[in-house]
Symmetry: C2
Subunit: 146 residues, 2 copies
DNA sequence: AGCGGGCGCTTTCAAATTGCAAGTGAAAAT
DNA sequence: ATTTTCACTTGCAATTTGAAAGCGCCCGCT
């Protein structure tokens, strides 16, 4: 069960967003899926941040329940599982990239190249389209499955 | 002490953003400050979501430590305290509004009017400017203080 | 000057969540 | 047939949360 019994974490757009990904681990999972081309459970588990597997499983199923991801058994190796971003998750890209621009400006330890923020500010639509195409490219190698 | 000992929650822009406001309560506090014109401790405490005061105090000081807010004693009534958003917090507005557009599209229980998303999509800069002006307007009534 | 109330926290303690480590069971590889 | 890989699940200690009560300062009243 979720906390949604006490307060409806919907209604207000900000509260809704907080309910879906207002959590460190959901944040980095969405990053891995939307920006780093990760799809397999094992790839998420190996993330630099070191998420533990119980939390990983929990967050993946929450995101699936919130219609952000769909789960698929790899047809070529049925012991492996991958997750694909839904349209809803992909629609977060503009906001996500906006946050990245912000972080790039204010994090003095940022490792993001200045060119990224510059490109996004000059032509946000093009930057978004570029990441969308990346997502499609990664998905293309997997999408002949249930 | 913070969790930053084990993993540096900076470097990667998404991880940095998650470190600063990847938390339900920081999310709603920033909403209240950036979008709802709240400034006083008492106003935050009275938020619809019902944050408890220990968490509120903790999050306010975290946000202050992350240079998102500055704390001020009300010169007219020195038992009251208000918080002002920094330039860094205000710079989140574009990303924040982008998330709101997203939530408005996908939350079936949204209470946000369709006109909001429409206005933002048609002229994001104008929408941002409008909220910036609101923030200035609210601050104007308070900014003759330490 | 004294006193009662409002206000911004801080403390207390139980309950929920997290995180590490060690399973488990199905499927692949050997 | 046996081992290995893989995606979780479980057990348990440690951290975090949340509701409620407490504390100290400031203000307004008398």
């Amino acid at each position: 069960m979720k906390k949604s019994d006490k307060i409806r974490w919907s209604g207000c757009p900000v509260r809704y967003a907080a309910g879906v990904f207002g959590d460190k681990w959901c944040f980095v999972l969405l990053r891995d899926i939307l920006l780093h081309g990760k799809r397999y459970y094992g790839e998420f588990a190996a993330s630099e941040e070191g998420i533990s597997t119980n939390i990983l499983a929990d967050r993946l199923s929450r995101l699936e329940g919130d219609d952000m991801l769909t789960r698929h058994v790899d047809p070529n190796k049925r012991s492996k599982v991958f997750y694909l971003p839904t349209r809803k998750a992909r629609a977060l890209l503009p906001a996500f990239l906006g946050m990245m621009v912000w972080a790039t400006e204010f994090d003095e330890n940022t490792e993001a190249p200045a060119s990224f923020a510059k490109a996004f500010r000059e032509d946000p639509k093009a930057a978004i389209a570029w990441y969308e195409a990346e997502i499609d490219r990664v998905n293309a190698g997997l999408e002949y499955s249930s």
